[in-house]
């Protein structure tokens, strides 16, 4: 791991932090993707429009990246379909049940020193690490 390879994650992270600060300053809201998606999938009157706009923003970001930096979207995701079905179900269910994901808990929550978010982040990191380790142990290539 050379220092150069840390620059992009750091810059990306800074942009993520800036975006969360933007939403907070402008609208007083937490930039939590699972909350945004959940609130669009199950709409609440009066609280959905901004979420749809945010969703469109993320899709637009994808479009922009695809045009100018497609290597950032190089999805090397091999494996059977069921892997992504189960992964999606677990992520969809878990983020709602646990009230957040890497953006909501990991960035926004930890930034305000929320005990819930600090613990949630440690727990989902552990869940991910254990899962990958198990995958390896069972002979799979993660």
């Amino acid at each position: 791991m050379d220092l150069g390879s840390l620059v992009q994650p750091l810059i990306g992270g800074i942009l993520i932090g800036v975006s969360a600060s933007m939403l907070l300053l402008l609208q007083g809201r937490v930039l939590g993707v699972s909350g945004i998606v959940g609130g669009v999938a199950i709409p609440k009157a009066g609280d959905t429009a901004w979420r749809v706009a945010a969703l469109l923003g993320m899709l637009a970001a994808g479009g922009l990246l695809w045009l100018v930096a497609p290597e950032t979207l190089n999805v090397t995701a091999e494996g059977p379909v069921w892997r992504y079905v189960i992964a999606g179900l677990l992520v969809g269910f878990g983020t709602q049940f646990g009230s957040g994901c890497t953006s909501g808990h990991g960035v926004c929550g930890i930034s305000r020193l929320s005990p819930r978010s600090i613990v949630a982040t440690l727990v989902f990191m552990a869940g991910g690490m254990i899962t990958v380790a198990l995958f390896r142990m069972l002979g799979g290539v993660p």
């Binding site: 999938a41 637009a60 999805v75 989902f124």
Partner: protein, 142 residues
């Protein structure tokens, strides 16, 4: 309208940040979680960068009496830990480790129409509905 634009732009910056950070590369995410194998800790710097910015901004921004476009801050205030937080986060983590996607990056990558991403996103939405069903059943039983 300003609310919609600000949500869109914040999310756009967020999505670009995810791309630059490498969060949209499932192989890189799994590498970050692969602590017993080929560990690539560089994604840790995404959170470092994001929190470094947002933790400081959060304090400054919430000194204001209100956000710029709305009348109040809507930031979660709960500080207690509960079963849902722990279980949900762990389940999310498993899904994250299995697929290498969390909600934001999956949506940003959707434009590629890579089958794994599409399957993941559709399944994630299904998982969201599953949680909704479970919570409704819980209400009826309780």
């Amino acid at each position: 309208m300003k609310l919609l634009i600000s949500a869109f732009v914040s999310a756009l910056v967020f999505g670009i940040g995810l791309g630059i950070a490498g969060m949209t590369l499932p192989a890189k995410v799994i590498g970050f979680l692969d602590i017993t194998g080929n560990w690539d800790p560089s994604l840790a710097f995404v959170m470092v960068g994001a929190i470094a910015v947002h933790a400081v901004s959060y304090r400054l921004i919430t000194r204001r009496t209100s956000p710029i476009l709305t009348t109040k801050f809507q930031v979660p205030t709960r500080r207690d830990l509960d079963f849902k937080l722990l279980a949900g986060s762990f389940v999310f983590g498993i899904g994250w480790g299995l697929g290498g996607f969390c909600p934001g990056p999956a949506l940003v990558s959707a434009i590629t129409l890579h089958p794994a991403v599409i399957v993941f996103v559709v399944s994630m939405i299904a998982g969201i509905y599953l949680n909704h069903l479970v919570s409704k059943l819980g209400q009826k039983g309780g």
